[in-house]
Amino acid sequence: MNIEPGLYHLLFISGALFFIGVYGFLTRRNLITILMSIELILNSVNINFIAFNKYLWPHKMDGLFFTIFIIAIAAAEAAVAIAIIINLYRSHKSIDVESAEELKY
């Protein structure tokens, strides 16, 4: 492991971000913070794609396009999720996941 930043350093960062997001997803009980954790996970995937494109396939641009499409889909997903959260807040006066359990039983 050398000191010059390279592919392995970027993979370390993206792996750490992914698992930080998973930790937030497991421990949080508020829907907005769960959404933030999902954003962290999607961003770690983007870093992965860009790192592989930069270091392993520099003669192609496929990783770059995947990143652009992931960003577009993440934006759409966040907008729909926030619409659902606001609708849930109107009907339940709370956005805690424990308060939305009608479908559980």
Binding site: I3, P5, L7, Y8, H9, L10, F12, I13, G15, A16, L17, F19, I20, G21, V22, Y23, G24, L26, T27, R28, R29, N30, I32, T33, M36, E39, L40, N43, N46, I47, I50, K54, Y55, L56, P58, H59, K60, M61, D62, L64, F65, T67, I68, F69, I71, A72, I73, A74, A75, A76, A78, A79, V80, I82, A83, I85, I86, N87, R90, D96
Partner: protein, 172 residues
Amino acid sequence: MNGSSIIFYLVAALTLVCAVLSVSTRHIFRAAIYLLFTLIGIAGIYFWLDYQFIAAVQIVVYVGGIVVLIIFSIFLTQQAGEKLAKQKIGRKIFSALAVFCAFALTMLQIYQHDFVETSAPHIGNTVKDIGGQMLSTGENGYALPFEVVSMLLLAAMIGCIVIALRSKPEPK
């Protein structure tokens, strides 16, 4: 250790520290602000890697769009100054342990794998190249996914309006 490496390590440390704070703080508004700095740090990593277009898209879409949306929804749904409910300590410890084990396993696999770097010449990733390949219908063209994503964004927009629309009471 030259200046470029130092900048990389500083940006990486900012990103990771802000990400940890974002999932661990109990003030939801602070969590949103730490998420903002994490996303800016990721944009900095893209700048460091010479992908200026992706960095610009990251700042415009995430920092300018999604974080602002999240902050507005926090304003709409949370009482000011209220902390999030405390989690059970057992769940926290179990989650941290599971996440740490998975991370260690993944990193072990990555460091044992030997990635083969190609010697093919680099091509530029200017906006002109990106746009040309994005809208090309030939081989390696991304015209079809581009159109599909535009349909998805339209569907998401209509879906948001329908979901968040306040239903009027039925006239008697």
